[in-house]
Symmetry: C2
Subunit: 265 residues, 2 copies
DNA sequence: AACTGTGAAGAACTTCACAGCA
DNA sequence: TGCTGTGAAGTTCTTCACAGTT
């Protein structure tokens, strides 16, 4: 089986596609739930359903990790939990700092799932001197002045930014300078970081806007089912008043016929 | 130009790729910032930098919306803001309910960016009777019993779930039954919804796990730079002392030679 | 000269469908 | 028989590179 396979995903020589990595936590969660119910094995089909993906994708994903299943049977839950945890680096402990202890930062600090899998909140940091020493989620808030020492003393390599947008880049720079190489950014800004530093972004308003986009589309399609394809007509419908006033408009059009004339809102 | 083009993105007949939709909010934010500084026009290069993407991608993205730029010049900031807003459906007002007013729900309610662009918090809903009536972010918390009436009275089509994982599916079902067709889920669960309902997920611990994965890889790859990531090395350095101890291991391997033997942590 | 808009090539990801093993 | 593991086909997304426009 694995023996004699010269293959290797090719892509970037070292393995596991990003899309797969992004799903591993999902599988892990589903597996953990099974494990807690003492379920010994799962099929790709069952696990896929629990994780909200389809089974072909799941099997392909697992194939990047190795051959951890048994044909005709399925996967050993405990074993898979271990393998995925290891692959994700969760068999070690990751100290994390949260910077910006406002509403959101406090919520994050209190978030249980944080500590659950390999992550440990090493410190909460805020720029407001009045916050210093105040306990949040059982930890005393530290002042920004201590940021560098906290990071090096605790060997922190992951930082969470929950500050206002205006402060984010500056905080980011300090984190990076102090040795942080992975950042989870909740502030609505694009962070600029040097090569080798990973940034992931969580942005409420972006998510809502994406939902709004689809929501808007639905509004236009609802009436008559078949109407859907009509959208394709795009430019065509522009002139017409028929179909769908707003949704269709977007189609594809130059700055002429459409004429919002009056620009912004 | 547009004239005579039979083409059409092909894919799913109606347009704008999902990946593009996901970036429109990014562009919009960058454009809004420019607009506030009264910058009249931008080139694809400048805007791309501000949004954190490359210019070819940005131009391609915009090409799905229409030809809104001017060759040799760039894009009119105000005009683009308008076009993108319209495309995203932000020229209308979207009432939103937040269910689950714990730490996170409260943080979301207080989040300014919420209201900024077309979204309006119509109500905060919580299952705890003790919370009922208590003001959060200036709104009185309503009890779950009122969920259905709140949704229909306000024409809410977007719901935010910030409840514990255990309650999420149930809340989701009620939201959907009451007419909500877009859900932003902060609970760490896979939500099952009928066709036609969109769900987007925001999951702290998944993001952290993805970061951990890359962080772990870095630990193994680093030649000899700063001690920064040293902390990460931790468990990794255990076995090998050579190149990349743990990171490499994952490569691809069957359940034989590797032998963690002792399973989970 | 400067910059957009876009075919075409390429890379990444997903899905199919089935060979192969327990 | 049942279910995994995976080539191959299909789809989506990204990047290139240049023709077209102001």
């Amino acid at each position: 089986m694995a023996t004699g396979r010269t293959h290797r995903p090719a892509t970037r020589s070292r393995g596991i596609p990003e899309a797969t990595v992004a799903r591993l936590p999902l599988y892990l969660r589903a597996l953990t739930a099974l494990s807690e119910r003492s379920v010994p094995t799962v099929s790709s089909e069952e696990l896929a359903t629990a994780a909200g993906v389809n089974s072909a994708k799941l099997r392909k994903d697992f194939s990047y990790l190795g051959s951890y299943g048994t044909r005709g049977v399925g996967y050993d839950v405990e074993y898979l939990v271990y393998q995925i945890s290891r692959e994700l680096g969760l068999t070690q402990d990751w100290p994390v700092v949260i910077v910006g202890i406002g509403n959101l930062g406090a919520a994050l600090a209190n978030y249980g799932g944080f500590a659950s899998r390999g992550f440990r909140v090493a410190a909460l940091i805020d720029a407001d001197p009045a916050m210093a020493g105040k306990p949040v989620a059982g930890l005393p808030v530290r002042h920004t002045d201590e940021l560098e020492s906290i990071i090096s003393d605790n060997g922190v390599s992951i930082g969470v930014i929950a500050t206002p947008a205006g402060a984010a880049q500056q905080v980011c720079d300090r984190l990076v300078a102090a040795g942080v190489t992975s950042i989870l950014n909740f502030a609505p800004t694009v962070l600029v970081v040097p090569d080798g530093v990973d940034v992931r972004k969580v942005d409420l308003s972006i998510e809502l806007q994406i939902l709004a986009f689809h929501e808007q589309r639905k509004a236009g399609e609802e009436p008559v089912p078949g109407a859907a394809a009509a959208a394709a007509g795009a430019a065509a419908t522009a002139a017409t008043t028929a179909g769908r006033p707003r949704a269709a408009t977007g189609g594809r059009k130059g700055p002429d016929g459409d004429v919002p004339a009056v620009m912004p809102a």
